[in-house]
């Protein structure tokens, strides 16, 4: 693994992000803009799923409004995050906050997948007044907690990583 990351760090991409003027801050800014859009839209869906707010609009519609932004933002976060990662790949890999960020992200995906396949398989027939099953509320709450943790881990990297 370390060898692969060493190679990535030495690659033209890694070298450019590490050394070329403002490239790192520019990518970091793009990362922050995309993750705030993505996480914010996830929060919107989760809060609706927990049943706390906006109960006049059905869960399916709220998800329909927010999900496209989640995915577009995520792809941009992935690309910008990967480029940032390439600049100091070995050190990021050694930073436990960085690793936890991905563990939590994997958990969030599993949670989302389980929700869509099992609990929410007939989501689009849920009316706004539909009494949400407990399992849906739990899925929303778990997602909320995981994404808060992911943001915290992402922000911690800069404080703990030794470059």
């Amino acid at each position: 693994m370390e060898q692969l990351f060493q190679w990535l760090q030495n690659s033209p991409l890694g070298a450019a992000v590490r050394m070329q003027g403002d490239l790192f801050p520019i990518l970091e800014t793009i990362h922050v803009i995309s993750i705030t859009a993505t996480v914010g839209c996830i929060v919107i869906m989760d809060l609706r799923l927990v049943g706390l707010v906006w109960t006049k609009r059905s869960v399916g519609r709220v998800i329909g409004d927010a999900l496209p932004v989640v995915w577009i933002g995520f792809v941009i976060a992935l690309i910008s995050g990967f480029a940032l990662f390439a600049s100091h790949a070995v050190n990021y890999w050694r930073d436990s906050w960085f690793v936890w960020k991905f563990v939590f992200m994997a958990m969030a995906f599993v949670n989302q997948l389980v929700f869509h396949i099992i609990t929410g398989k007939d989501l689009h027939s849920w009316k706004a007044s539909f009494q949400l099953p407990v399992s849906a509320k739990v899925a929303g709450a778990v997602s909320l907690a995981l994404w808060i943790a992911i943001v915290a881990c992402g922000r911690m990297i800069g404080f703990t990583m030794d470059v």
Binding site: I33, I35, T36, G40, D65, V69, V151
Partner: protein, 171 residues
């Protein structure tokens, strides 16, 4: 001129609050995490409103309903951003207060808040006009779209400035 601001910074640095934020390692990362989460709420709210205004999502519902659902969240979050931001500043006042990008961010924030209020009013006015209220001023959709996109750009500019404070220290 900067000398009085400089003196103010020196005074802030000696307060107990500043000492607390500086000496407890967990405080600044926690404040920054909350700051980013609050930015996420503002960002997603304004994205939802803007996408509805330009007609990309939620066409089964009115623009006004979208604005009513998401605009309040912008106002709920700004106080949290202001308090958290000021706490961070208390630790290192010069880093922000004497920072050109931070000053720009505050100007942009005032502009974005004003723009958001204006947008809310225009949306209500255009809804009233559409409902056939004779006294309501005529507001066309193009106007609401232009204002919506301009306000969206202002909020993005604040995020760029916020992230750039760290790269403009001492410039």
């Amino acid at each position: 001129m900067p000398s009085s601001l400089h003196d103010f910074c020196l005074w802030v640095e000696k307060t107990n609050l500043s000492m607390f934020v500086k000496t407890n390692e967990w405080v600044v990362p926690t404040l920054q995490t909350i700051h980013i989460l609050c930015v996420a709420i503002i960002m997603s709210s304004i994205v939802m409103i803007t996408l509805r205004i330009v007609g990309l999502i939620g066409k089964d519902e009115s623009v006004q309903a979208f604005a009513a659902r998401f605009l309040p969240w912008i106002w709920y979050t700004i106080p949290a951003l202001a308090i958290g931001g000021l706490l961070q500043i208390s630790a290192e006042p010069e880093r922000s207060l004497m920072n050109k990008i931070f000053q720009l961010k505050m100007v942009l924030l005032v502009a974005a808040m004003g723009g958001t209020i204006f947008l809310g009013r225009k949306i209500s006015a255009s809804a009233a006009a559409a409902a056939g209220d004779a006294v309501a001023p005529a507001v066309n959709q193009v106007q609401v779209r232009l204002i919506g996109v301009a306000v969206f750009v202002l909020w993005i500019a604040i995020i760029v400035a916020g992230r750039w404070i760290a790269y403009a220290v001492g410039l």
